[in-house]
């Protein structure tokens, strides 16, 4: 099925491209916009991006597959990233991650059976002074404890309805 860009995406792209001295530079920002709208970046969307920037689709895909943040498959309604790196780990980051996984009966890097969340490890979220930290979508949560994680999970369960998830896909590139 061909990718049908939304009106906001068209407008954004039209405005964005001329700001860069070279068209190709706009690729990452366009991919961000698409992923925000769609939740992931399909091959069809990548072909559309390629056409906007006078690139071959493979030149878009090599970008999508290089950067850990871009995804080619859907994820849960909430995207949870728990920092795994040293300062967070020293302060219990792994326990925080286990708690998120247990609350949603999820496996690391996979969408939970209720489709509500995808939990991943992230590498250093640059908030080591308030370790351990995690991001839920755009928001950073600091000084996490198992109790605080429970509260966050309860809130997600209250706000996000459960549903059957799309076929589980490993979201890790590496």
């Amino acid at each position: 099925m061909a990718f049908e860009p939304s009106q906001p995406l068209r407008e954004y792209t039209e405005k964005l491209i001329p700001r860069y001295p070279q068209k190709r530079s706009a690729i990452m920002m366009i991919l961000h916009f698409i992923q925000r709208e769609q939740g992931f970046i399909s091959l069809e969307a990548q072909e559309w991006v390629a056409a906007q920037l006078d690139l071959q689709p493979i030149q878009v895909r090599e970008v999508v597959t290089f950067y850990p943040f871009y995804r080619e498959h859907p994820v849960g309604k909430k995207f949870i990233r728990v920092c795994r790196t040293l300062s967070c780990a020293l302060n219990g980051g792994y326990k925080v991650c286990d708690k998120f996984l247990a609350e949603f009966d999820a496996k690391l890097g996979h969408t939970s059976p209720d489709g509500r969340v995808t939990v991943e490890f992230a590498e250093c979220l640059a908030s080591c002074g308030t370790a351990p930290v995690a991001m839920i979508d755009d928001d950073l949560y600091e000084n996490l404890t198992e109790d605080k994680v429970k509260e966050l999970c309860d809130r997600i369960k209250a706000e996000v309805p459960a549903e059957t998830p799309a076929p589980a896909a490993d979201t890790h590139h590496h």
Binding site: R19, I27, H32, Y67, R81, S87, A89, L90, Y94, C128
Partner: protein, 457 residues
């Protein structure tokens, strides 16, 4: 939503210049607030000078790069190839991602206009055609705050066309990364900004000052560095240089994390304090009942110090120094004289509640994940070091792993296009050298859980 909470308790030893207003509860990110506090006056002052004069101030101020290498910013600007006739680009490296570092986050989230003003002064001084802020993806609110600040500054004529009525024009664009650490490496960042995989370029010939973005002369400076430009021009280079200590001028924001009572960001006059003061006095010391195992003095890629280490050598003036970890001056040159580096100013403290093998396994997992994969020694070596230390952490360590790890590290450093080779090799090389007995002891013990219950891998 928690964007970046204010820390209102400021330690009496702090000398706040960059973060002067950031944590004031009444200070916000709007341009009105910034201008009430004297904002954009230094840009006006700079526009009244010749670009060369502004450069002179930065040179005399002796501002050294706050991102990791500590290279003098003024020198970087002087290297710009002006004869090529090509447009000059300025990039702010806001990809803050060296583990342990969280200082630029404070600036961008709490005082974005300071960065915008610093950048426009730098742009004027270098006759930049277009400027970019490359901010890591994991700071989406930071990107929005900066975009809003830029729009406000544009409306007031401080960004964009005919800046401050000077006839000089320069646009400023916020560009977001996508969670790849290697984009903090300046040539990797440039490739990324060109819309490609962030494969670092080989130097020579691709020094950004000559062949940078779109093969044009380019400056890449860190967020904190560009803020210092504003203060150097405001105070005058000579006055600024009096702050701090010789060859280590100004203030510096240290990120303190790990096993300390009061982790956080602390802005201190450069070289006026020691690691001991930061960890024990300002940071509140270790948690009750714990003793020090190690200090990582400048981001997780810097070479580790073991508790009890002594560093001896000769100062430039011929006098001798004999330091413990707590005596090392908090500046650029101190950690270097103690066999490591100040890097991004990220100090990670590790106590005896964890096992040193697990600490290295955690660090190795990071660098293996973040290798761009371009050079074989780094791509393969970082992965092998990760595999070996993960196996050791899982309870299957062998005595010969120590030498095997050292040999892999030795085969990476110096054999790659960019410094990620060193960044991934230095932890392994230094941990194995400093803690050889602990690694061998772990192999003999064959224990899976280290010394405590905190999992690190």
């Amino acid at each position: 939503m928690i964007v970046a909470p204010k820390r209102t308790e400021i330690h009496p030893k702090e000398r706040r210049m960059i973060l002067k207003h950031a944590d004031d509860p009444n200070y916000d990110t709007s341009i009105d607030c910034y201008m009430r506090h004297g904002g954009y006056e230094v840009l006006k002052k700079a526009l009244a000078m010749k670009p060369e004069e502004v450069q002179d101030h930065v040179m005399k101020a002796g501002i050294r790069g706050r991102g990791g290498a500590g290279f003098p910013a003024g020198m970087k600007w002087k290297f710009l190839d002006r004869k090529s006739g090509k447009p000059i680009y300025l990039i702010c490296n806001a990809d803050e991602s060296e583990p342990g570092t969280f200082k630029d986050r404070q600036i961008m989230h709490k005082d974005p206009h300071q960065l915008v003003e610093g950048m426009m002064i730098a742009a004027w001084a270098t006759n930049t055609a277009k400027a970019f802020i490359y901010i890591r993806e994991e700071m989406p609110h930071g990107a929005l705050i900066l975009e809003q600040a830029i729009e406000e500054a544009r409306a007031k004529g401080f960004v964009g066309d005919n800046i401050g009525g000077s006839g000089y024009s320069c646009d400023l664009i916020v560009h977001r990364g996508a969670a790849a650490y290697i984009c903090g490496e300046e040539t990797g960042l440039i490739e990324s900004l060109e819309g490609k995989r962030a494969y670092p370029r080989i130097k020579p010939p691709y020094f950004p000052a000559a062949l940078g973005l779109y093969m044009c002369p380019t400056i890449v400076n860190n967020v904190e560095t560009l803020c210092h430009v504003k203060h150097a021009v405001d105070m005058g280079g000579d006055e600024y240089a009096k702050l701090g200590t010789p060859n280590n001028s100004g203030t510096r924001i240290w990120s303190l994390s790990g096993h300390v009572q009061r982790p956080g960001y602390y802005e201190l006059e450069n070289g006026k304090h020691t690691y001991g003061e930061l960890i024990y006095d300002i940071g509140g010391g270790l948690k009750p009942g714990r003793s020090l195992l190690a200090v990582i003095p400048g981001g997780s890629s810097s070479k580790v110090w073991r508790a009890g280490d002594r560093f001896k050598g000769k100062n430039r003036d011929g006098s001798e120094y004999d330091w413990g970890i707590e005596d090392v001056p908090l500046n650029f040159d101190g950690p270097a004289a103690a066999g490591s580096m100040s890097g991004s100013g990220a100090v990670i403290v590790v106590d005896d509640s964890v096992d040193i093998v697990d600490v290295l396994a955690n660090i190795n997992a990071f660098y293996a994940h973040e290798s761009c994969g371009q050079c074989t020694p780094c791509r393969e070596g970082s992965l092998w070091m990760k595999k070996i230390t993960s196996r050791m952490a899982a309870g299957q360590a062998r005595v010969e792993d120590v030498d095997l790890l050292a040999s892999i590290g030795d085969q990476i450093a110096g054999r790659t296009i960019c410094a990620h080779g060193e960044a991934c090799a230095w932890p392994t090389q230094s941990f194995v050298a400093k803690f050889r007995d602990k690694f061998i002891e772990r192999a003999q013990r064959q224990a899976a859980s280290g010394t405590g219950e905190t999992r690190l891998i």
